[in-house]
Every structure is written in structure tokens, then in C-alpha cells.
Symmetry: C2
């Protein structure tokens, strides 16, 4: 360790040259995108201090590009249609900006384009990736693994916690199962007995977890009261129609997100069912303004989506720093996954 | 030219290796992000054909990254709040996908982050940039110029057509002035005489052009009938309140976009003014579903926003190809700017 400690550090070069660590890093790694005068200053400082950009020192510089890719495993049309993604990106954008790292959102038309995303990730354009909305048979994790970029996932990936994708799997999630349990217990507490569930897409862990939470409480639920859907308002409408056909006597609905709850509410109104008198409805997300603007305003399970985005970015940047320190022999653990608590927000619908 | 013609071309190498031109390009430029087996095949083909990746041949390969940056000169929050940007991105995404080029959306919190965007653009991560929603005193064009990336602008930039930013200025725009004229003529044709205008942000050329179109028809417009706004629904509400205070006798409003028109309609309804009987309203954009869902549905000037995005991407890619051919001595012009026509869409509000 003495050898490493006695060597002039990157920080010392930055201080001597009067530039940021990032600038020294860029110069050491080829000087792309740095003004010639700055390159000159850094080179002079390197020479004066006898700084040797050896392998260990270079790997300390893990934020070589000061840029982080965000990949949402959904077609571009859905990224802009579902406010969930805008909120998550808001948190990511704020956090990356604090660390002067550029948010690089890689948009696609669909799964056919993922190979291209993998090539971009592998091409040395970003320091790491934030990936969310994975589906169970998604080719993205494999491509990310191949690209070799450190990654933090939004939502628990569908593989076992032991699996490694460029390091231990790190994710940020909400307590989907606990939140769902609380929603359904609330309905039970109000005296409802024929409680239906409109699921999210069951190739996503958050939807599976919410279904599990529903089942934790409704242990003997009539299978006709569970109907699959896709997190969209139109999907919620379709599911609600199907539920009313199957079980006209239902007295409550727990929808796996607010958008599908908004669709369910529209169908209930169409059919003349009063909410909450005839049918109580609870959503999930506390997506604003949606949850406040439904008729009636929606009781729902709040998860802090923006905070999830912020945490994903924070964990990734912390992991990048840790990697650098590890290679210098310092002690410290890689960041671990975080599961955020949820809270029930009571409005008029249940 | 004979020398160039007699040399084996990049295309020949691609054909011999059984890979795409882009793959040969990547290998020739260092092989980053290409599978080792493909690198090997390309190297063999290069050797067999005696291909020399000289400067001219290398500059033909202007799509080195198969990625295009999109920079919207607005904070991330506005990018996701205004459906205009989603539509333009939709067109860009479709067109880039056809050409297997990755859409790289660079998001910011605001103008303070533009230097970082400039660094990313200069860092050799993209083949070119699509930039829209520029404001008159925007530092972005200077940074883009410094970054040296070929760029196509969405909306006519506020400088004279002669100015060059990494080549001649190329932009895609709608006929904002002509469209505004048609909107106001329509109101005049309906017999309205006290016609007001809610402007867009006048540091953007599209807003200035629409104001000019309004003035072309209302040559002696009472200045109190023109009120500045910002393209948002809340801004439209504020502007409408101000107009009603200044000129309670107004009988028509031309709003510079549909979102501000939707705000104006809300205020008119609040104040008990019937639309179109008491006050006729025309918007601009034909933004769906907004324009159809206002009460009453909005008469507006349609511009094809998605097509604008598609054209921007097409012009950029064509320009990149042309650059390559130019350096090989072939004849051909750089793409020129395109101004798309607009059409009046009549609904119930005027």
C-alpha cells in the first residue's frame, strides 16, 4: 500500500493544474473533449509531480465520461405516455446533475433495438447504466452483462439475488408486496368481502409482488376475482368490464397501479356503480395529478417514484467510486439494494 | 480520383467479411464494441483485399458511433410536460431506428448544465446532433459549434441564414407565419373584429413568426390585444385573465399554441363567456388529444410535429453521408432546410 500512498495522486494533479478531477481523468484517458489549453496545463502538472497514470490509478478514474445511460425496457411511446417514467427520470436527472454527470437516455422502438443499445453501452460512452421496467424474458440484462458496464436496476430483477451482472445485482424497489397487503387490509377493514384485483403485467416483478400481497390477505380469493392487465388506463377499463361480467356482485377492487384504477373508475361510472358506496377502489403509486383528478379522487398506495430514481443514481455513482477505491486496496463494501416503504393515502374512493 | 476508385472500398470489405459497413467502420476505428469474432473477420477481409483505411476512406465513415444526440433546450421537467417534445421525439426515434442509429437523449435541469452537454457532444460519443426549442440568447449553438458535431435544428434558429454552425445551418420548421395568418383570417371571415393574440415566448422564432402572422392580418391591432405568454396551459389562463381585464369587449382569441388555448378556454368558461358565440378561439399545433378534448373542441392550425422530427433525423443522416462522399470528391449538395406547410383544422371553438 505504501507504494500507492507515496505516489502523487490524481487529486494532486488536479489541484496543481487548477482543474477538476474529471478534467485530469479525461486528459489521462486521451484528452477527448478537453480544451487544448487545459490539456497543456494538466500535462505540465503531470510532469512536475511525476504522476504516473498506472493501471491502478486509471481504474480509480471510473467516471471517465461523466455520463450515465438510462435504459427503460419499454418502447419510446410508452416512456412518454406513462408519467411513472417521467418521475423516475426526474429523480435521476436531479441526482446526476448534482454530481455533474450527464443523463443519457437511450430510447428504442422496442425489443428489436436492444442489440443496438447493448453496442452503445459497450462502446465506451458512459460510466454506468440505470435500467428499469425489466420484463422476465428481457434480453437486456444479458446485453448489459456483455457490455460490461456497472448497472443499477429500478425494480427487483426477476432473477435470484445471487446472480451477478457486472458485479452483485443492485436494485432500488418499493415494498410492493407490503403495500398491496396494506391496500387490501384497508378494504377488508371497511367491511368489503368480494374484493377483486386488477394485476399489472405479470412478467414484471412489481406486478407479481402486488398480486402476492393481495393473496397474502385474500388467502382463499375466488380466481375469477383476479384479472390480468397492463398498467394502462385502457387496460384497466378492459379488466373492469371483464370483472363485472364474471362477478357482478364484487364490492371492491384493488388495481395494481393508479392508471389502471382510473380506467376501472370510468367503467364503474358508465355502469352506474357508485364509488365507494357500491364498489370501493384502491390504486397503487399515488401518481399525481392522476390520483387526485379521478372521480372520485383515488385512495392509493404511495411509493416515492422520484426518490427511487434519485437513489438509483446515487447507488450507481457510489459504486463507481467504490470500484476505484477497491482497486487501490481500500476497504469498503459495494452498495446494496434498497427497498423503500410505502404508505396508504386515503382519498374518497375507498 | 482514379486512385480513390481503384482502391478497395469499405463496402467491398464489408461484403467480403459478410458484415455491415458500420461494423467495418467500427473495427477500422478501433474495434470498440464489436465482437472479437467479427473483428477477426473484418481484419482478414482488410488483409485479403489490401484495404488501406486512409484519411479519405476514414472520413467517409462518418457514422462511427451509429448514434445521434437529441438536445432539447428546455429543462427535463418541461420536456416531459409538453407533448410537443414527445411527438417530435417519436418521429426522430422512428427514423433513426430505420437507419439503426441509437437515439441518445441528453436531458438537463436547465441552462447551467449546457456546458456538460457540450462536453458530451465533443467527447466523440455521437455522429451528430438534433437540437430543438432554442431560445434567442441560448448558449447551446456556441457549445455545439465548439463540439464540432454536425447538427440539424428543429425550428429556425434566430440567426441569419448565412451563419454556419459546423456547416451551413440546416433546420426543419413549420410555416408558422403563414399558419398564423390563416388562423386570424379565419376569425376575420367569421366576422370578428376585436381579435386578441396570446403569444408564445418571444425569445423563440416560432412565437415571433406567429405574432408576425397575426400582425400581417391585424395591421392596426390595438396593442392591448396582444399579451405575452409561455406556451403552457397555466400561462394561457393568466394571459386570458389579463386580456379580459384590458379589453372586456374582445370577441376572438388566437393563442400561439393549443396548450395556452386550453388555458384560455378554461378562463372563458369560468367567466361565463360562451365559446364560440361570445368569444371564438383558435389554437396552433393540433396537439392530440388536447385539441379534441377541450370544451368546446379546438379549432387550430395543424403542423405535423412527428414529421418534423422524422425530417430532422433524415436530413442529419443524409448530411453525414454527403460529408463522406464530399471528401471522396463526389459531387452533391448538402441538405437544405425544410419548411413544412400548415393547415387549418376546424372544430367547434371558431
Amino acid at each position: 500500500m505504501t507504494e500507492t500512498a507515496s505516489r502523487p495522486t490524481l487529486e494532486a494533479v488536479a489541484a496543481r493544474a487548477g482543474v477538476s478531477r474529471a478534467t485530469v481523468s479525461r486528459v489521462v484517458n486521451g484528452g477527448e473533449g478537453v480544451r487544448e489549453t487545459l490539456v497543456e496545463r494538466v500535462r505540465r502538472a503531470v510532469e512536475e509531480l511525476g504522476y504516473v497514470p498506472n493501471q491502478a490509478a486509471r481504474s480509480l478514474v471510473t467516471r471517465r465520461h461523466d455520463a450515465v445511460a438510462v435504459v427503460i425496457a419499454e418502447p419510446e411511446t410508452r416512456v412518454f405516455a406513462d408519467p411513472f417514467f417521467a418521475l423516475q427520470l426526474r429523480g435521476i436527472s436531479k441526482e446526476l446533475t448534482v454530481h455533474d454527470s450527464q443523463l443519457v437516455l437511450l430510447l428504442t422502438e422496442g425489443r428489436e433495438d436492444y442489440a443496438r443499445v447493448g453496442r452503445y453501452l459497450a462502446g465506451g460512452h458512459v460510466d454506468g447504466a440505470l435500467v428499469f421496467s425489466l420484463h422476465l424474458d428481457d434480453p437486456l440484462p444479458g446485453l448489459i452483462h456483455g457490455a460490461g458496464v456497472p448497472t443499477v436496476f429500478g425494480g427487483r430483477p426477476g432473477w435470484s439475488d445471487g446472480m451477478r451482472v457486472n458485479g452483485p445485482t443492485v436494485y432500488v424497489d418499493s415494498d410492493n408486496r407490503g403495500g398491496a397487503r396494506e391496500a387490501v387490509r384497508h378494504l377488508v377493514g371497511l367491511g368489503h368481502t368480494r374484493i377483486a384485483h386488477i394485476t399489472g403485467p405479470l412478467d414484471q416483478t412489481c406486478a407479481v409482488d402486488r398480486l402476492d400481497g393481495f393473496r397474502d390477505v385474500m388467502v382463499d380469493a375466488d380466481p375469477r376475482l383476479i384479472v390480468g392487465s397492463d398498467f394502462t388506463p385502457v387496460g384497466g377499463e378492459r379488466a373492469m368490464r371483464e370483472l363485472l361480467e364474471r362477478c357482478p356482485e364484487l364490492d371492491a377492487v384493488f388495481a395494481a397501479n393508479d392508471l389502471s384504477a382510473s380506467g376501472a373508475l370510468r367503467v364503474l361510472r358508465e355502469r352506474g356503480r357508485r364509488v365507494p358506496e357500491d364498489v370501493a377502489v384502491v390504486g397503487f403509486d399515488d401518481m399525481l395529478p392522476v390520483a387526485e383528478q379521478t372521480d372520485p379522487p383515488l385512495t392509493t398506495v404511495r411509493q416515492d417514484i422520484e426518490e427511487m430514481g434519485r437513489l438509483m443514481a446515487r447507488l450507481l455513482l457510489r459504486g463507481l467510486e467504490q470500484r476505484g477505491r477497491d482497486e487501490q486496496g481500500s476497504v469498503g463494501g459495494a452498495p446494496s439494494s434498497v427497498v423503500l416503504p410505502t404508505t396508504l393515502v386515503r382519498r374518497a374512493s375507498a
